[in-house]
């Protein structure tokens, strides 16, 4: 009884909360690095790179000069960010006119596309690479099951938390692997552009993600997006029915400043009036080329931009599924991180893996540090914050520094037998 008297501080559960959000991010990055290293072991001079929405404007060619490639990458990223912005605004508009049914079905459809088709292709590439003797019947049955149950778990019905979280991570891995197939310069410039877009869309008052979060808060609804929600640390059994109440109380106490991108909510479910700050980082992942899964899970907020898959032209048009990027607190007091954050972190690390493992370690540490900083800012400011900018900027910086400085140092040390 006496413990209930003492006001709970954030320190009590902070470590556990951190672990519960860092673990899935790490698993996602690890799986993408694994996929990249298994499937790209032959020379990946991607002359046959995919035609996607991100290189509509310019297709990179290895033989061109530095400035040409840079300009082309800038053009690609600009096109991408513009399309993502448009898609996000369309999503906000649909949400505003209460077309949530359509959004839900759309997200389910894109989830099925990602899990079924992209998952199937990646599985086929793995089968071909590892020479697994699988027959088509088993393969189709397994893939069908996997995709349908994934759609159900993430989007349609309430299922075991572990299953939902695993499927979200798998969707993040598939989409991130897709993105690593872009040409190199485009990938890096795109990451920086998305980080800047995230910053703008969440913090500016006219940003689409901020509007989305405010709309959702006003109506006390869930945002139709893909969001990963960690298991809450302290569960108050009597409070299960009162999840929404926390959100509302929180809203009543403070101004709405939550930017949709990174809304990190930290709710502490205690017996006392909740200190829950809902910070949800939901980054709108817009313009994802592959089908963005938009899974709307009822307790989670997930916005995913979905990209329609046009097979004939082999071009991907990004649909309106905003991948929510951002950190926030769920209404049950758990940390929520948008799936777009997962994806872009993993793209960064995957692209670093295409060079060498040294860059992978450096970028991984940079991203985790950035995530920790963002969570601290979340606790400090108690509003929605973008999760991409800090981590991506640190990651890109560390990648460049490693590639330019550290590698040379390590190579010279090894060659002269000073280290390793």
């Amino acid at each position: 009884m006496e413990r209930n008297e003492r006001p709970p501080s954030i320190i009590d559960s902070l470590g556990e909360e951190l672990i519960r959000i860092i673990t899935p991010v790490s698993i996602c990055m690890f799986l993408v690095v694994l996929l990249v290293s298994v499937l790209n072991s032959e020379s990946s001079s991607s002359s046959d790179s995919i035609i996607t929405i991100a290189n509509l404007a310019y297709d990179e060619n290895n033989s061109e000069s530095f400035w040409d490639k840079f300009e082309g990458a800038l053009l690609n990223s600009l096109v991408f960010v513009v399309i993502v912005t448009v898609v996000t605004f369309i999503l906000v508009f649909l949400f505003y006119i209460r077309c949530t049914k359509f959004l839900h079905y759309y997200m389910g459809f894109s989830a099925f596309m990602v899990l079924g088709f992209m998952g199937g292709q990646i599985a086929l590439m793995l089968v071909a690479k590892l020479n697994l003797p699988i027959d088509p019947i088993t393969f189709m049955v397994v893939l069908f099951n996997f995709a349908i149950v994934g759609v159900l778990a993430v989007f349609m019905s309430k299922m075991a938390i572990l299953v939902t979280q695993s499927y979200l991570v798998v969707i993040g891995v598939l989409v991130a692997y897709w993105f690593t197939m872009l040409p190199e310069w485009t990938t890096w410039v795109l990451l920086v552009a998305m980080a800047l877009y995230d910053l703008a869309a969440v913090l500016l008052p006219v940003g689409p993600l901020r509007l989305l979060v405010e709309l959702a808060m006003d109506r006390d609804e869930d945002i139709p997006a893909l969001v990963y929600e960690a298991r809450p640390v302290n569960v108050d059994e009597s409070d299960v029915g009162g999840r929404r109440r926390m959100w509302r109380d929180r809203r009543g106490n403070r101004d709405e400043q939550e930017s949709a991108n990174n809304v990190v909510d930290l709710e502490m479910s205690t017996d006392q009036p909740p200190l829950s700050t809902v910070v949800g980082l939901e980054s709108a992942e817009e313009g994802r080329m592959p089908n963005n899964d938009q899974d709307v899970s009822v307790p989670l907020l997930e916005n995913r931009t979905s990209v329609e898959w046009d097979e004939q032209q082999q071009s991907v048009v990004s649909d309106d599924s905003m991948a929510f990027e951002g950190i926030g607190l769920g209404s049950s007091g758990a940390v929520k991180l948008g799936l777009g954050d997962f994806i872009f972190y993993s793209v960064l690390v995957g692209r670093a893996a295409m060079y060498d493992f040294m860059t992978v370690y450096a970028c991984y540490l940079a991203i985790i540090a950035g995530l920790g900083i963002t969570l601290m800012l979340l606790a400090l400011y108690q509003k929605a914050l973008p999760a991409l900018p800090v981590s991506v900027m640190l990651g890109v910086l560390f990648y460049v520094l490693t590639r330019v400085l550290l590698e040379e140092f390590v190579m010279q040390c090894s060659v002269n037998l000073v280290m390793f």
């Binding site: 697994l132 003797p133 027959d135 019947i137 397994v142 069908f144 349908i148 778990a153 569960v235 097979e311």
Partner: protein, 144 residues
Amino acid sequence: MEGGSSSSTSGEPTTLLPLQNPNISSNSSAAIRRTRWPTIDGPLGLSEEDSVTYARRFYKFGFLLLPWLWAVNCFYFWPVLRNSNSFPTFRHVVGSAIGFSIVTILLSSWALTFSIGGERLFGPVWNKLVMYNVADELGLTSWM
């Protein structure tokens, strides 16, 4: 339970009844507490009434060639499978478990026959059926 206890004490003086009742109520409340959360998520999962609906729905959907859904159903309601006596309304979960194991046995026996038997068993047809050749032939991996 209460009926049994009161009948056993029917011959006793009435002063003993209040002594018996707290035991009964504590037993039943303990039983209620134990069986309160039928899902594996505990208090974060569904309540008992909702769970029955979900279990039944998963069971029915699993008949659309979805044995994995049956497996997820069993995983989700694992406490039900462990103490199936205290959850009398959950026969669909047990049905899902049986269905999943049957289908898995069938499917894995076929898959293992295919992969281990290989060419010796099937002849040259095996090379046309195996998945990586099918993928190459149909160009399935070149969408990306």
